[in-house]
């Protein structure tokens, strides 16, 4: 075990514990921008810096293992000064359109500027100049709001495995880009939107939900995605009893299957729920025309037809195509119905969504 002092509190943590976790254990609220517990460490935003007695520089607590006898100050004047200047540097390159920003209320830059009272940046030179037009249907990329935390790059690489984006150019001109700075659609991007999920500011937002309600203000309803049998947890954004978007709940307790990760359908394909074209009742085709029917009538109709075909042409004249949208249990029942009730092994699966 490691013994150290944090803000005057003596605490004990297991060897290998990062200072950030130790500080949080000691009750200190350490601000972070690039840190994400599910991604490899970057140590680059320098918001989590703390003062370690006897060290010539401030230490980034997210990448510094706790050491015996360390004496840590988490909000010393030097620490607050460094965080304030970092925030001012980020503010100087940020496009503040908070009133219309999707991330208003769920923006870490906004939160920390409030916390440290950063009303304006003393660096009043060139402002944001990174705007990216990307005409895809799912993700709005606005790099005039980007703070270069690289969480999107890391989540794309480590969780989605698409490696669609990385850093291009150097220094202040560095920005997040696809290979050759093209469109997402021309890259290996699968539009899963994990980058939107981890973006701590409004640089990456959902185009599908844009303007329908700020996620921070929407009611959140946890549900299970119906697109496939995986059973991902979705966080439906509800406003005035209407679904206006989908966000992620990354808490493993609430989202045990996917920890917030979703696919393009789960995250962006929810508009069908209230589509006027959606089937709400079974339909039976008669004389080339579809007419509404009750479930009982429709099921009887199908059962009778299946029976008739079986009697006339034998069970192997029938086949069952099941769906990946169904659960394992439902698919099991489907094949059972085919084999036991109908008597055929003609069972297949669409194998795609």
């Amino acid at each position: 075990m490691i013994n150290l002092t944090i803000d005057g509190k003596e605490i004990q943590v297991p060897k290998g514990t990062m200072l950030l976790d130790a500080c949080r254990q000691a009750g200190a609220d350490i601000p972070t921008l690039c840190y994400d517990p599910d991604l490899r460490l970057a140590g680059s935003c320098r918001m989590c810096v703390v003062e370690a007695k006897g060290r010539p520089t401030l230490v980034a607590s997210c990448v510094m293992p706790a050491e015996n006898n360390m004496v840590i100050e988490t909000e010393s004047p030097d620490v607050v000064e460094a965080r304030t200047v970092v925030l001012e540097l980020l503010a100087a390159r940020h496009k503040f359109e908070c009133p219309t920003c999707e991330s208003d209320g769920s923006c870490k830059l906004q939160d920390y500027m409030y916390r440290y009272g950063v009303k304006e940046s003393r660096f009043d030179g060139e402002g944001p100049h990174f705007h990216t037009e990307d005409p895809n249907p799912f993700i709005i990329r606005d790099y005039d709001k980007c703070i270069m935390c690289t969480r999107c790059v890391r989540v794309c690489d480590e969780i989605t495995g698409a490696q669609a984006i990385n850093i291009e150019d150097r220094g202040h001109h560095a920005k997040i880009a696809t290979p050759f700075d093209g469109k997402l659609a021309d890259s290996t991007c699968v539009f899963c939107g994990q980058c939107v999920m981890v973006c701590p500011v409004g640089a990456l937002t959902s185009r599908v939900a844009a303007g329908k309600g700020k996620p921070a203000q929407n009611e959140k309803v946890l549900t299970t995605c119906t697109y496939c049998g995986t059973g991902c947890t979705l966080e439906l954004n509800v406003k005035d009893d209407k679904i206006v978007g989908v966000t992620s709940n990354r808490d493993a307790e609430w989202s045990p299957v996917n920890k917030g990760a979703l696919c393009v359908k789960g995250r962006f394909g929810w508009d069908f729920v209230t589509s006027p074209e959606r089937l709400t009742t079974p339909l039976i085709r008669e004389n080339g025309e579809l007419r509404p029917a009750s479930w009982d009538e429709a099921l009887d109709f199908a059962a009778n037809k299946i029976k008739a075909i079986k009697e006339q042409n034998g069970p192997d004249s029938l086949a069952m195509f099941s769906s990946a949208r169904a659960t394992n249990e439902e698919n099991y029942l489907a094949q059972k119905l085919m084999r036991a009730a109908i008597g055929s092994n003609n069972v297949d699966h669409c194998a795609r969504l």
């Binding site: 935003c45 320098r46 520089t57 460094a82 390159r93 003393r122 660096f123 990385n166 150097r170 560095a174």
Partner: protein
């Protein structure tokens, strides 16, 4: 004392650095032979007690660095020949004059840490050095002097930040040249995640002489806490701008006035920047300082790479520092916030001051920014980038104030 002390450069221009036999004729590879007969621990202890400290700029005890290397199946020896500091070319000179000593030094390190593979990371602007080194390695391998220790030369692509050891490692691995956070230090998890010793050319090239002449002998040269010799590259407004090898207790004033032959065209001295572009500017009153690591540190400067840039009385300090700030804006890798945005804003404010549009508030802003960069940037680049600014505001503040808007 106005004489050079040539150790690494003793046989400069008398032997062909590409040919191992030439080097062997003047006593080369004897140090490696001796190292191989020694117990590994004793070898590291010998290097430690010689007091040899890293010549790349950080000044860490070389033997100490090696002693941190944990046991592992594969380990690497990496030579930092990125030499990107403007005004610095001592590593090139050491390679051009005595490449075999570098190879021998790397092999000695390989013996000490039980590594069979070395890499030399060469600056992208030095293709001719790569060619020379490849021939030197070929010759050394053919002569059998290196034994089973292999050395491969890798080339940079012109990024200053790749002189930082972890960015250098990233670059060898084929990634973006961006520094890693430390710990873990390369000695524990370096190239491809295995223990790696990264030392500068000059550090490695000193090892053969420590081995043959003894740690005690080496420790007695120059400044006691930073012993040995140092190759300096003298540039700027001096009569004799060239390279020198001097004992580390050599006086800075003597570098300029004795070795350098004084200021060109009979002009007066204004300032000297030691250690490369990220070094501090030193005024006249601090010239009587020994060039060693600690003495330079004591006056708020750094020996760094050993570049010495002399400016005469006609030079515009603010203009020069503005150019330097452009350099750092260009060379920041962009990984951490203080450096990526800080170097950009430093350049902006310096240009504002230099063009007469700035006020006292701008001066205060740049000083605050500099302080945060020094304290909070991820690597040495961002931490050192504001040093030219702060050191010149400290010593030549009147030149800045002269350019401020009078009635803003």
């Amino acid at each position: 004392m106005a004489e050079e002390m040539r150790l690494l450069l003793e046989h400069a221009d008398k032997i062909d650095p590409r040919i191992a036999e030439d080097y062997i004729k003047v006593g080369g590879y004897k140090g490696l032979e001796k190292a191989r007969q020694m117990d590994r621990k004793n070898l590291i202890q010998e290097v430690k007690s010689s007091g040899l400290r890293g010549r790349g700029g950080a000044g860490f005890n070389a033997g100490m660095k090696w002693s941190f290397v944990p046991p592992a199946e594969v380990k690497y020896v990496v030579c930092n020949l990125d030499e990107g500091e403007p005004g610095t070319y001592k590593d090139r000179i050491i390679c051009e004059k005595n490449a075999q000593a570098l190879l021998e030094g790397m092999a000695i390190c390989g013996t000490a840490i039980e590594s069979k593979q070395g890499y030399i990371y060469c600056r992208g602007e030095y293709p001719f050095v790569v060619e020379l080194l490849n021939k030197a390695i070929q010759s050394a391998k053919a002569s059998g002097a290196l034994g089973d220790f292999d050395i491969e030369v890798r080339m940079g692509a012109g990024a200053y930040v790749c002189g930082e050891e972890t960015a250098l490692i990233e670059s060898i691995e084929g990634h973006r040249g961006e520094p890693r956070f430390k710990p873990p230090f390369p000695g524990v998890a370096g190239l491809w995640g295995v223990p790696t010793v990264v030392n500068n050319v000059e550090t490695f090239a000193a090892l053969p002489y420590i081995m043959t002449k003894g740690a005690e002998w080496y420790a007695s040269i120059g400044a006691p806490k930073y012993p040995g010799t140092k190759v300096l590259t003298l540039t700027g407004d001096v009569n004799n701008p060239t390279y020198f090898e001097v004992p580390t207790n050599y006086n800075l004033r003597d570098v300029i006035y004795k070795l350098g032959g004084g200021i060109k065209n009979g002009k007066k001295f204004k300032a000297v920047q030691v250690g490369g572009t990220s070094g501090a500017f030193i005024p006249e009153q601090n010239l009587d300082t020994s060039i060693d690591f600690d003495s330079m540190g004591a006056i708020g400067a750094a020996l760094g790479s050993g570049a010495v840039l002399v400016l005469d009385e006609t030079r515009d300090i603010v203009d020069i520092v503005t150019r330097i700030s452009k350099f750092f804006e260009h060379e920041s890798c962009g990984k951490c916030n203080p450096c990526r945005e800080g170097t950009f804003r430093c350049r902006e404010i310096m240009e504002k001051i230099n063009s007469g549009r700035a006020t006292e508030a701008d001066l205060n802003n740049i000083l605050l920014l500099a302080k945060v960069m020094k304290r909070a940037a991820l690597c040495g680049l961002g931490q050192a980038a504001p040093v030219p600014i702060t050191s010149t505001i400290q010593h030549f503040g009147h030149e800045y104030r002269r350019k401020l808007l009078q009635y803003a």
